[in-house]
C-alpha cells in the first residue's frame, strides 16, 4: 500500500482523498454491500412477508376493535411486559406483538376478522430477517452487528464526500458510459455513473443512517438526559414502573384510539401498546402512524389504562421534527408506491456502485499482482463475486427454502436463515475455486433460482401471477414479476459473459474477468 500524497503537493488533496476513497472502500465493501442489499429488499419488507407467509394474503380491514380483541391478546401473552396491536395498512395486515417477561418476543398476524391470531407462519420473512439484517446483521451478541453497521454508515459518508472531491469531471460523468471500450474502463464508468446519478440518494441515505445511529456514536447525551430512567429512551420518552399489584384496566382502548385520532386531526394511531397489562400502574401508548407522511414522527399520547385519562401528550420539538424527517427518509414507511420503487432502484444502484468499485480495484491490479505473486486482487475478486451474485443466490435460497420446508416443522424459521447463510458461504467457496468462471455460473444459478421460486410459489399456494393479480395481491405478484425479470437479466449477463470469454480466447479485448486464472 503506497503512502497517501501530502496535501501540500500539487493535486495533493485529490490524491490523498483518492487513497482514502480506495482503501476505505475496500475495507468496508462487503459490509456495505450487505447493508445496501438488505436495505433495498427491506423497502418491500411487508410485501416479502406476504410472499413468505401465504396465510396473510388477505385484504385486511383497516378498522378493528381493540376492546373486542383484548381477551385474545391477554390469553395469548399472559403476564407480558407489554403487548401491542399494529393496525392494518394497505401494505400489511394487523399485527400482534408482545414482549414477555422473560424477554422473549411473540409475533402473530391478526386474522381478517380482527378477533383471531393466525398460527405461527414459521418464517422471519422480510420484516424480521431482511429489515433487521440491514442495521444489525442479525448479530445480537454484544451489539456487534449494530456497531459494525454504525461504522459502515460513517464509512459510506466518508466515501461519498471523498468520491465527490476526487472527481474532476462530475458533470461530464453524468453522461459518460463507454461500454464499447475495454472492460476496466466500462466498470469505472459504471462506478462513476451510478455514484454520480444516485449521489443525492446515497448522501441522504448515509446521512440519515448516521443520524439514526447518533445515540450509538454519542451515548453520553442520551445518558445525561435519561440518567434517572435509562429505559425511558427506549420507551419513546415516557415510562413509569409497574406497581406490582393487580389493578382494574377497565378503560376502553377503542376510546383511547379515538381520542388520539381526535387530537391528531383525524389521523388514526399506527399502533396501541399496553404496558404492564393487569397492573395497577398499567398505561397505554397510542403512537402516530408511520405510513401517512414523509416524516416518521415517533410521536405518542399516553393514557392511564384504568381511567382512560391522558397522562402525557407532548408536542414534538422542532429538533425532533427535523429528526423525524431524516428518520422517515431512511425507513421509507410512507405509503407512496412510486417513491418506494425509486428507493428500490436507487438501492440497487448503490449495490452496483459498490460492486463495480470492487471490480475496478481487482481488475486494475490483477496483472500486477499476478506478476508479483500477491493475492490481493484475487481475494477482492472473490469478495466481489460472493458479495454480489452470492448474496442474490442466498436470498433466492431463503425464498425457495420457505416454499419447500413443511409449515409445521420445528425451527423452520431458523432453518431458513441457515439456508441463506449456507448458500452464501457456498457461493464464496465456489468463487474461490472457480474464479472468473464463477460469475457466469452464479448468474445461471440465479436465473434458475428465480424461476424455481416463482414456480414453487404458484404450486404451493396457487397464487400464480395472474391469480395473485386477480385477487388484488399486487405485492405477491410484484415479487414474482421481479424474480422473473431478475432471472431474465441474469441469463442475459451470463450470455454476455460467455460471448466475452469466447472473444477473450480468440484474442479480442477482454470485457469481463476471464474464466482462466491469469
Amino acid at each position: 500500500m503506497a503512502a497517501p500524497a501530502q496535501p501540500d503537493e500539487p493535486g495533493g488533496v485529490r490524491l490523498a482523498l483518492n487513497w482514502l476513497h480506495t482503501w476505505f472502500g475496500l475495507l468496508s465493501c462487503l459490509l456495505l454491500l450487505v447493508i445496501f442489499w438488505t436495505g433495498t429488499l427491506a423497502v418491500f419488507d411487508w410485501e416479502i412477508d406476504r410472499w413468505m407467509k401465504p396465510a396473510t394474503r388477505f385484504t385486511a380491514p383497516t378498522e378493528m376493535s381493540i376492546d373486542a380483541f383484548r381477551p385474545v391478546a391477554e390469553a395469548s401473552a399472559p403476564g407480558a411486559e407489554f403487548w401491542q396491536v399494529q393496525f392494518a395498512t394497505d401494505r400489511a395486515p394487523a399485527e400482534f406483538y408482545a414482549q414477555l417477561n422473560d424477554g422473549a418476543h411473540f409475533y402473530r398476524t391478526i386474522g381478517p376478522d380482527g378477533l383471531t391470531l393466525l398460527p405461527d407462519q414459521g418464517t422471519y420473512g422480510g420484516t424480521q430477517f431482511f429489515y433487521p439484517y440491514h442495521f444489525t446483521l442479525n448479530i445480537g451478541f454484544a451489539n456487534i452487528g449494530l456497531i459494525l453497521c454504525a461504522f459502515a454508515g460513517i464509512m459510506m459518508m466518508v466515501l461519498c464526500v471523498s468520491g465527490v472531491i476526487i472527481h474532476r469531471r462530475i458533470f461530464a460523468d453524468f453522461f459518460t458510459f463507454r461500454k464499447s471500450q475495454k472492460s476496466q474502463r466500462s466498470v469505472l464508468d459504471l462506478h462513476n455513473l451510478t455514484g454520480v446519478l444516485a449521489l443525492p440518494f446515497h448522501f441522504v441515505i448515509s446521512l440519515s443512517g448516521v443520524a439514526l445511529f447518533s445515540a450509538m456514536y454519542l451515548p453520553t447525551a442520551q445518558e445525561a438526559v435519561f440518567a434517572s430512567d435509562p429505559t425511558a429512551f427506549d420507551q419513546n420518552y415516557f415510562s413509569r414502573p409497574a406497581a406490582g399489584e393487580a389493578g382494574q384496566n377497565s378503560a376502553s382502548l377503542d376510546v383511547m384510539a379515538e381520542e388520539a385520532a381526535r387530537r391528531w386531526d383525524g389521523v388514526w394511531p399506527g399502533h396501541l401498546r399496553i404496558y404492564y397489562p393487569g397492573d395497577a400502574n398499567s398505561y397505554v401508548e397510542a403512537r402516530w402512524p408511520l405510513h401517512g407522511s414523509l416524516a416518521a414522527r415517533y410521536h405518542s399520547i399516553w393514557f392511564d389504562a384504568a381511567t382512560g385519562d391522558v397522562i402525557a401528550a407532548p408536542q414534538p420539538s422542532a429538533a425532533s421534527a427535523g429528526y423525524a424527517v431524516l428518520w422517515g427518509l431512511h425507513v421509507v414507511q410512507f405509503d407512496h408506491l412510486t417513491i418506494r420503487w425509486l428507493y428500490f432502484l436507487s438501492g440497487l444502484a448503490g449495490c452496483v456502485l459498490i460492486a463495480t468499485g470492487l471490480l475496478f480495484w481487482s481488475q486494475s491490479r490483477r496483472k500486477r499482482h499476478a506478476k508479483t505473486g500477491k493475492k490481493g486482487a484475487e481475494i477482492v475478486a472473490v469478495i466481489a463475486i460472493g458479495g454480489t451474485t452470492g448474496l442474490i443466490l442466498a436470498t433466492l435460497a431463503f425464498l425457495i427454502s420457505n416454499r419447500l420446508l413443511p409449515l409445521d416443522m420445528e425451527g423452520r424459521a431458523t432453518l431458513e436463515t441457515w439456508c441463506f447463510h449456507a448458500v452464501w458461504l457456498a457461493a464464496f467457496a465456489h468463487a474461490g475455486v472457480r474464479r472468473g468462471a464463477a460469475w457466469r455460473e452464479q448468474w445461471i444459478a440465479i436465473a434458475i433460482g428465480g424461476v424455481v421460486a416463482v414456480a414453487l410459489n404458484a404450486v404451493t399456494t396457487g397464487d400464480a401471477i395472474p391469480v395473485a393479480i386477480a385477487r388484488g395481491q399486487w405485492g405477491v405478484a410484484g415479487i414474482d414479476i421481479m424474480l422473473l425479470l431478475g432471472s431474465f437479466l441474469a441469463i442475459a449477463a451470463a450470455w454476455r459473459m460467455r460471448s466475452s470469454q469466447v472473444r477473450t480466447r480468440e484474442g479480442h479485448a477482454k470485457k469481463f474477468l476471464p474464466a482462466e486464472k491469469s
Binding site: 458533470f171 461530464a172 453524468f174 453522461f175 459518460t176 458510459f177 463507454r178 461500454k179 464499447s180 455513473l193 446519478l197 444516485a198 449521489l199 443525492p200 440518494f201 441522504v204 407522511s293 414523509l294 416524516a295 424527517v325 427518509l329 410512507f334 407512496h336 408506491l337 412510486t338 417513491i339 425509486l342 428507493y343 432502484l345 436507487s346 444502484a349
Partner: protein, 91 residues
C-alpha cells in the same frame, strides 16, 4: 396512481432537461448545422429551465415533502436515461 402520473411528468421534463445539458458538451453535440449554431450556454439555460419546471411540477402535484423527494429521485432516473441513450447512440 397520482404518484405514477407525477413521476411520468417529472421524468419527461428531467429527461429533456438533461438531454439539453448533455448536448451542451462538445462531444455529445450532434453534427448538424443547426446544432452548431446554438451556443452551449443557451442549451444549459434551457436544460436548467426544464429541471426547474420538473421541480415545480413535482411540488405542485405531490406537495413539498413527497414532491421534493420525488424530484430528487427522478432526476437520477432522467439523467440515467440520457446516459443510456448517449451510450447506445455512440456505438
Amino acid at each position: 396512481m397520482a404518484g405514477l402520473a407525477s413521476f411520468i411528468v417529472v421524468l419527461a421534463l428531467t429527461y429533456v432537461g438533461f438531454l439539453l445539458l448533455a448536448r451542451s458538451q462538445a462531444k455529445y453535440r450532434p453534427p448538424t448545422v443547426w446544432a452548431a449554431r446554438i451556443p452551449p450556454y443557451r442549451l444549459r439555460l434551457f436544460g436548467g429551465f426544464f429541471l426547474a419546471l420538473a421541480l415545480a411540477a413535482a411540488l405542485q402535484m405531490q406537495g413539498v415533502g413527497f414532491g421534493s423527494l420525488l424530484w430528487v429521485l427522478t432526476v437520477a432516473a432522467g439523467a440515467g436515461m440520457v446516459s443510456l441513450r448517449l451510450a447506445t447512440s455512440a456505438r
